[in-house]
């Protein structure tokens, strides 16, 4: 018996239709942490990129006549003990932090991936390589970076290398774990049995499965690299004082922090906001890429 259209419309709906919002509003609803973290990071990247056009002046222009001015309409973030404009220095410092963070994240992930694949696929190399990684991980990362920086002169490149060496073992361990669990999978066995070359197995079956956890790990490495860079610069073992980085600005503001706290606090707020943005992005990615974890944490 055909049901008249009006009758069917009266039927109570057991479940309201699932309305999936599409477009960017839907994305923000589903992944608020990615949206907030990513948005904040985007703003900071834009600040870094366009710093020279954001009303900044020469960050190392010394002007003794107007030193340690409090923040005002003319000097938004005040001036430091040499009369340099803190606003310009902090904005240009964004570049240093972002460059160090992103470079360390990329290089450490690439090298860690290579070491992890080697360790997971070449059985005789696994033991020695992983013991070496364990040893590197047993040295607290900041101390390892300090020891490496003591060998060379301070420069952005050396800071990136020092922090990268300290972070590689974390990626290598992660990748090795993924490779070892994937090797037990039937489809990998099948690929080996049918004589697929190892490189193709890696490209087809292994790499796609390591991308998600590696992306999450890379965000955490980026955040930790920025903090370590600021710490190194703060204690005088990082970026040379001539380059304005957040750690350097804070180190220079130290002597005056009791009377002019803003010189220390403003770069600290920028650094915290950047690291927070990246951590939020990392947490969001982890939840989005691995729904099992999302429920637990």
């Amino acid at each position: 018996m055909p049901v008249p259209a009006s009758e069917a419309a009266k039927q109570p709906e057991l479940l309201p239709p699932v309305k999936v919002r599409r477009g960017w509003i839907g994305f923000v609803r589903r992944h608020p942490t990615i949206a907030i973290g990513g948005g904040l990071l985007l703003v900071l990247v834009l600040i870094g990129l366009f710093a020279p056009w954001l009303g900044t002046v020469d960050p190392s222009a010394i002007a003794p006549a107007r030193r340690t001015r409090a923040p005002s309409a003319e000097f938004w973030f005040g001036t430091d003990m040499l009369g340099r404009d803190v606003y310009s220095r902090v904005l240009l410092g964004t570049r240093v932090s972002l460059v160090v963070g992103f470079s360390v994240a990329c290089i450490a992930t690439a090298i860690g991936l290579a070491i992890g694949l080697l360790s997971g696929f070449v059985r005789w190399a696994d033991g020695p390589v992983m013991r070496a990684m364990d040893a590197l991980m047993s040295i607290p990362p900041i101390l390892l970076a300090i020891a490496l920086m003591a060998l060379t002169r301070g420069s952005i490149g050396n800071v990136i290398i020092a922090i990268t060496i300290a972070e590689i073992p974390r990626v290598a361990r992660l990748v090795r774990g993924v490779v070892l669990s994937l090797r037990e999978q039937a489809y990998v066995d099948a690929a080996i049995t049918t004589g697929t070359p190892t490189l193709r197995i890696i490209r087809r079956h292994i790499l796609p499965n390591t991308i998600a956890p590696m992306m999450v790990q890379a965000t955490y490495i980026c955040a930790s690299a920025m903090i370590i860079e600021a710490m190194l610069s703060f204690i005088g073992a990082g970026i040379p004082p001539s380059t304005p980085s957040w750690g350097n600005i804070m180190a220079e503001g130290r002597a005056l922090w009791q009377v002019k706290p803003y010189i220390v606090f403003i770069p600290a707020v920028f650094l915290s906001a950047t690291v927070l943005a990246i951590n939020l992005l990392g947490d969001g990615l982890r939840d989005a890429l691995d729904p099992r974890v999302a429920k637990g944490i």
């Binding site: 040295i139 927070l276 947490d283």
Partner: protein, 313 residues
């Protein structure tokens, strides 16, 4: 149990040897010739050669490593290039401040973080829980020196409750000692609390789903008892693991925090050594901290059997 401790220590030894090798190589690669530094400006090439010979610097790399390891095993970490004081003596002088700071941080952080994590798990989904989790992300993002200046500014400069900087040894009175350690310890606790609270909440959420927790509740035990005795004990293994791993973060934090609060500890010694490129001191400090870190984690691994009798080796 005893066999397990031996086995576990056995796996730590090669890693320790590897760490020692890395750290020795760092000093070996360090620029500057120690012989030239000892000989001074007036030295002839023959003098230099003689000093190099007496220091064993002309021997092969691995032989030098063996000599150095032998000395390290006898607690001889060399001498500071600048003061000529043995590195072990320098570390010894500054040990008290750093150990006080680390122990104080550990106690404050655990006392704050574990109850926070437990309550967050118990009231999962509530406003309190969400506030704690938001703090966990935030606390992990704020660098330790920013926290230090912020706390010092609020509690020492504005409120004037506590001294701004400095350190007083315990022998000069417990109260002044505690007063000066409180702010630095709270500073270092900040990120550590975030870390511990987060893992406590996660493991407690799992444990609270277990049948025996329901049984304990059903037979009428007070919630507090169930939470802190029945559930927390079984959630303790991951929590203790994270506390141990977080020590690496604390050691790094101490280097910076001691600078912020002008505490004459090993962290301060490290910073001074970097600024003067005093390689033996840097090497000694890094080696010591790494060994302490590894030993603590070895002890924690061994302690699992005490915390959870189901774990047998």
């Amino acid at each position: 149990m005893f066999a397990y401790i031996l086995r576990r220590a056995g796996t730590t030894l090669p890693v320790m040897a590897m760490v020692a090798f890395f750290i020795f190589s760092l000093l070996y690669l360090a620029p500057g010739d120690p012989a030239a530094m000892i000989a001074g400006d007036q030295a002839t090439p023959e003098d230099l050669a003689r000093i190099r010979e007496s220091l064993g610097l002309s021997r092969p790399f691995l032989a030098q490593f063996a000599d150095w390891s032998w000395r390290v095993l006898h607690f001889d970490l060399g001498k500071s290039i600048f003061t000529g004081t043995p590195v072990t003596a320098l570390i010894g002088q500054r040990m008290e401040a750093t150990v006080s700071l680390l122990v104080m941080t550990l106690i404050t952080a655990v006392l704050i973080a574990v109850p926070l994590g437990v309550i967050a798990a118990w009231k999962a989904g509530s406003l309190f829980d969400r506030a704690i989790m938001a703090f966990a992300v935030f606390g992990f993002s704020v660098p330790v020196f920013a926290v230090g200046y912020m706390l010092a500014w609020v509690f020492a400069l504005q409120m004037q409750w506590l001294p701004v900087q400095g350190y007083v040894p315990l022998s000069e009175g417990a109260w002044p000692w505690l007063q000066r350690l409180l702010l630095p310890a709270l500073t270092m606790s900040f990120g550590y609390v975030a870390l511990i609270a987060r893992i406590t909440r996660t493991t407690m959420l799992e444990v609270l789903q277990q049948d025996y927790v329901r049984t304990a509740r059903a037979k009428g035990l007070a919630s507090r008892g169930v939470l802190f005795v029945h559930a927390l004990k079984n959630a303790s293994v991951p929590i203790v693991t994270v506390i141990g791993l977080g020590i690496a973060m604390l050691i790094g934090g101490a280097v910076v925090t001691e600078s912020v609060f002008a505490i004459p500890g090993i962290g301060r010694l490290t910073v001074d050594a970097i600024l003067r490129r005093d390689y033996p001191v840097i090497q000694g400090v890094v080696l010591m901290f790494s060994f302490v870190y590894m030993l603590i984690n070895l002890l924690i691994d061994v302690s699992y059997t005490l915390l959870d009798p189901r774990i047998r080796y």
